[in-house]
Amino acid sequence: MNKKLWAHDFKAIPFLLPFFVAYVIFTILPIFKGLEMSLYDWTLVRKLDFVGLANYKEMFIDPHFWRTLWNTTLFVILTTPTMVLLALGLALLANMNTKLQTFFRGSFFLPSILSVAVISFLAIFMLQPYSGLINTVLHTIGIEAEPFWMADKTLAWVSIVVVTLWWTVGFNMVLFLAGLQDIPESLYEASEIDGATRWKQFRHITLPQLMPIGRVVLLLQILGSYKVFAQILLITGGGPGGATRPLIQYIYEVGFTQNNLGYAATMSYALFFILLILSIIQLRNQRMGES
């Protein structure tokens, strides 16, 4: 190795070390600890017997694992495409050269800074029957129906998806917005000289230029959606009767109320592998797209 470079790198070590140590202690070690837990019968209090792959075998025949995994996947399917399109649409809107630009940017992003407890409380306030904002508006305009937004299976899903979109779209919008601002102005100027319409500019300049950031948004969205938990727990509690219960809620219940951390760790590993595979596929696609 080049001696100068080595000396250069060496200087960086003291600066990197604190983070590296924290990273090992709080991220790497728990990963291995989790793997160890999944091979044992492990309660909240202590490690019991080594059970090998028994927890994994159990997982494959556990209908609740599959049901909650499906619920989570359904959430991913419902939120991902809508989220990407919505974030893109809002970014385009927020990037327009109008007087409302700052307003758009601020108002679209604002919900993202709220904590999950706050947005869930707001959601319940708006969605509750009889006195909730939405049903009151429906009654005011003469619709007598009393939809149970959080208690009907289909409506509960609609509610959770809409709330999540409203809450998190701002962050993705910012990513798209950054992408939009990275597109060189000269491309648009050149295309204008060539007589391109707005639509053609969008299709042949904006979209292709946004592809890299679009892939990032897609990947983050899929990973994030698979980890959905808190807003569902707070809004519907996984109900009615487990219809919206996501995998992480099931993992949480098995670990902390059924006192079976070994099996909970096993299911966490299943989720980890699903996310890993999705990430690999996505990164491959990205590389192919770039080459």
């Binding site: 993202s112 029957p129 006195s131 149970f148 299976k153 109900g239 009767g241 219940e253 109320t257």
Partner: protein, 435 residues
């Protein structure tokens, strides 16, 4: 311009990260606090899971104890209710538990079987705990292999509250303040039908939740009234067998379900049935005795608490009990432990203070005392403590409850028939207990 705008945005993102980070940091962690311990006193750390009014009444008892003597100082630390047991179990397991903790009777088997709590026989004798002064029904729920593992504080059962004015408007109130109801399932429904027919349309005959623990408790009450005893056998803490009386379970669930759907006595999915009762919008409600303290302090609310009527034969009700336990510790401070049990004994003796919240004191002597009898309303439901049917005693109680509630919810939501729900519940419960 773009750069300036973008850096503003980054600032906002950072701010949001900081805010998110802050939101989780306000909880007080166990053991540490800024309370000053008086000189010469031994600190006794206590964890409790109470919220709202309950927390205040518990603090009053702690203050009274601290003032009553100078040897010990109980440091009462409030923990987040939802995470309480997870935190308690793991802390004791790691040797960092408190000196005294609150536990519900249904969680005791888990604590006992994992060796996380210490029996109180020897230390109780030293301190002078008089076990024969407790209500036997509650005390039995704290004894394992003939050893006392907890000092019970109360029984808190689910009872019925009526709004005197609305029930009187419907001409359903007798002169002595009791309700005009024939104690049969038909009489029960008829009582509510009359309320529904006579009261203005915007008044609710029965304000209640449509999911979660509350309807589970009422189902349990009716199931117990029919003679149903539990969901699992009680012969072993670790290896109970599935023992639900399915016919009775289905009958009780169908009855509760008919109140929502067939008879439309309970409006579906009320978001906050407490506030409906508190704002005099509802003629009746079912909830735990703990609401009494709140209703009392509500101006203008004239109410009567009473046991849920016995309509299926046997006197029975859902109930649980708060108890004090002595967490196990390898390097236990014997002085602090003695102080802990002294405090438990003090709190049990001062059950009338705790009863201000609405709970029924665990000591028969307290229930009979003038101080308690003088509290309004309480004596009207204190008898419930004698026939409460506590949930099954085994190490799976917390997990079992989650499963049962979730399946009952499918019935109330109209997603499953009682037959389907109990069949599905059986599979899942058997899976939980490894049967």
């Amino acid at each position: 311009m773009v750069k300036k705008w973008f850096s503003g945005f980054i600032g906002l993102v950072l701010l949001s990260l900081v805010l998110t980070a802050c939101s989780g940091g306000s909880e007080r962690s166990g053991g540490e606090s800024d309370v000053e311990i008086p000189e010469g006193a031994t600190e006794v750390v206590m964890w409790n899971l109470f919220a709202g009014g309950d927390a205040e009444y518990m603090q009053n008892i702690v203050d009274a104890f601290n003032e009553s003597q100078s040897e010990y100082f109980v440091n009462n630390i409030m923990q987040e209710n939802a995470e309480y047991y997870t935190k308690l179990l793991t802390s004791i397991g790691a040797g960092k538990g408190p000196d005294v903790a609150i536990a519900h009777t249904h969680v005791l088997p888990e604590l006992v079987s994992q060796g996380l709590v210490q029996d109180l026989d020897t230390i109780g004798e030293d301190v002078g705990v008089k076990w024969d002064e407790f209500n036997q029904n509650i005390l039995d729920a704290t004894i394992y292999e003939d050893k006392h593992y907890a000092v019970p504080m109360d029984t808190h059962a689910q009872i019925m509250y009526i709004n005197n004015k609305l029930v009187a408007d419907a001409d359903l109130l007798n002169d002595d303040g009791t309700i005009k109801m024939e104690k049969t399932p038909e009489g029960y429904v008829e009582f509510y039908q009359t309320l529904k027919d006579i009261l203005p349309e915007d008044k609710i005959p029965f304000a209640f939740a449509s999911s979660g623990s509350d309807p589970y408790w009422t189902w349990w009450t009716f199931y117990s009234q029919m003679g149903g005893r539990g969901i699992l056998t009680e012969d072993s803490l670790e290896n109970p067998k599935y023992d639900l009386d399915v016919d009775k379970a289905i009958k009780a669930a169908s009855f509760v379900n008919s109140l929502y759907h067939e008879n439309e006595i309970i409006p579906l999915n009320i978001s906050d049935f407490y506030s409906e009762f508190q704002s005099e919008n509802a003629a009746t409600m079912n909830t735990g005795v703990w609401a009494t303290g709140t209703w009392e302090s509500t101006e203008g609310l004239e109410f009567t608490p009473m046991p849920i009527p016995t309509i299926f034969g046997e006197n029975a009700a859902w109930g649980s009990s708060h108890t004090f336990v002595l967490p196990y510790s390898q390097k236990a401070d014997e002085v602090a432990q003695k102080g802990a049990v002294e405090f438990m004994n003090f709190a049990a003796d001062h059950g009338a203070m705790w009863a201000e919240a609405g709970h029924i004191p665990a000591k028969t002597t307290v229930v009979e005392s003038e101080e308690y009898q003088e509290l309004p309303y309480r004596s009207e439901y204190a008898e419930v403590a004698n026939y409460v049917n506590f949930v099954d005693r085994n190490i799976y109680a917390r997990g079992l409850e989650e499963i049962v509630v979730r399946h009952l919810d499918t019935i109330w939501a109209g997603e499953a028939t009682p037959e389907e729900a109990f069949a599905a519940m059986e599979t899942e419960v058997k899976d939980l207990i490894g049967e």
